[in-house]
């Protein structure tokens, strides 16, 4: 067969590799173009449903995704989703991260206008499955223990796990993970308190 002879030649090898990389690159390019809008929409939907989880229904009546404001937190830019009800500032949702046992834990924190937690959810983490992953709402209700807590009704010293003299439970076999989450929520509230005026007064 002719192709057998051809296959042994060096240019054939180079040409073949070039051809395959070209075809696969084109396939990826096409797939990227086709899937990008759907992927972005899915990411928006995810964000929206996360936002809804940390804010009780009826607290806001605006489109949170459209009401994002950038706040400068000592050089770190944070996106805050500003909720309003009947035109008045009523709630805010922002991302915050803490250090867990195995890297960063990304949280989404919702607070009402007074700085009381309405809900906290873990967006991303790499904690030990079966131990540290109890911070996920799908696996345990622990994350709900932050609800209705604020810097006013819970003294700074109590923002710690019970082992450290605080009021939040740790998990059997995993202390570092909840410790990191508690610290992150506390710092998140401090961030909100420090920038409350800025967030509340942001342009409508």
């Amino acid at each position: 067969m002719q192709i057998d002879a051809l296959r042994e030649r060096i240019p054939y090898h180079g040409g073949l590799l070039a051809f395959f990389t070209l075809v696969t690159s084109l396939a990826l390019l096409t797939a990227n173009r086709i899937t990008l809008p759907a992927i972005e929409r899915a990411a928006q939907d995810d964000l929206k449903s996360s936002l809804e989880q940390v804010l009780p229904e009826g607290m806001t009546d605006n489109d949170l995704l459209a009401a994002a404001v950038e706040v400068d937190d000592n050089g770190v830019k944070r996106t805050v989703y500003r909720g309003t009800k009947a035109g008045a500032f009523s709630a805010a949702v922002f991302g915050f991260s803490g250090r867990g046992y195995a890297g960063e834990i990304k949280l989404l924190i919702g607070v009402d206008a007074g700085g009381t937690v309405t809900g906290v959810r873990v967006l991303k983490h790499a904690e030990t499955p079966g131990l540290g992953d109890k911070i996920e709402v799908a696996k345990s209700d622990w994350i709900r223990s932050f609800e209705k807590k604020s810097l006013e009704n819970t003294p700074v010293a109590a923002w710690a796990v019970k082992k450290d003299g605080g009021q939040f439970d740790q998990f059997a076999g995993a202390t570092i993970t909840p410790r990191g989450v508690v610290k992150a929520v506390k710092e998140g509230l401090q961030f909100f308190a420090a920038h409350r005026e800025e967030i509340a007064g942001a342009a409508k």
């Binding site: 192709i3 395959f20 990389t21 992927i39 076999g173």
Partner: protein, 228 residues
């Protein structure tokens, strides 16, 4: 393409047991150790890999007559990486709920040596249909191995079986979820990486013992190509 001379029964048997990716070829150690922290995770990884394995085997087999031996490995790598990326993007775009559960596993499939191994050892030498069957058999064998390993580690590590199966398979499968030992403290080590090696070691011994017990007259399997 000639499909003559392919014994499908043997292909299935090889994939599921005799040449099981994990228990006999000892391939794909990276995803095996990483995800088998529970039966559900093992099952999810196994099913995702099976789908990619069938597709990559068929594709490699279809192009095998045009690819020269000298550059076949880079071609395999490019084809498999592309395929995995395409699956990843499509799932993310159109089956987003499933993606949220399986997304973690799909990226790991690229580093799965078993797929390259099957392309090299089977698909490059056999027809499309036979390669698809081989991919299916190897994939199911892999799924079986990962699920068993996951269940063993989960049972000893946290005293449950198939926890969160309903997240992967849908609410109708919640009957699979079992808390076998109530108030179990758990053995953390079995969930951490050392537990993976321990579980695999004991399962390998069990398989060898079982085969010996069955008085199998088969000669030992040939060594595999690479281990990742």
């Amino acid at each position: 393409m000639s499909e003559a001379g392919v014994a499908y029964g043997k292909v299935m048997r090889d994939g599921l047991w005799d040449q099981n990716v994990v228990f006999s070829q000892l391939l794909a150690m990276c995803p095996t150790m990483a995800v088998t922290t529970s039966g559900t995770n093992g099952l999810g990884m196994g099913l995702a890999t099976t789908a990619v394995l069938v597709a990559s085997n068929m594709l490699i087999s279809a192009i095998r007559n045009y690819v020269s031996d000298q550059v076949r490995i880079p071609v395999f790598v490019v084809v498999i990486a592309t395929l995995v990326t395409l699956v990843d993007m499509s799932l993310n775009a159109w089956l987003h709920e499933l993606y949220k559960v399986l997304g973690l596993f799909i990226a790991l499939i690229v580093v799965n040596c078993a797929i390259l191994g099957r392309a090299e050892a089977f698909a490059f030498k056999n027809g499309v249909v036979a390669s698809a069957v081989d991919g299916l058999a190897m994939g199911l064998g892999f799924t079986f191995a990962l699920t068993v390993m996951g269940l063993v580690r989960e049972l000893i590590g946290s005293g449950t079986l198939f926890s969160q199966a309903s997240l992967l398979l849908g609410p109708s499968f919640s009957f699979l979820e079992m808390k076998v030992i109530p108030d179990y403290v758990g053995v953390l080590m079995m969930i951490l990486p050392p537990g993976g090696f321990l579980a695999l070691g004991f399962l390998l011994v069990a398989k060898r013992q079982l085969e010996r017990r069955l008085a199998s007259r088969r000669v030992p399997e040939p060594a595999s190509h690479c281990a990742v």
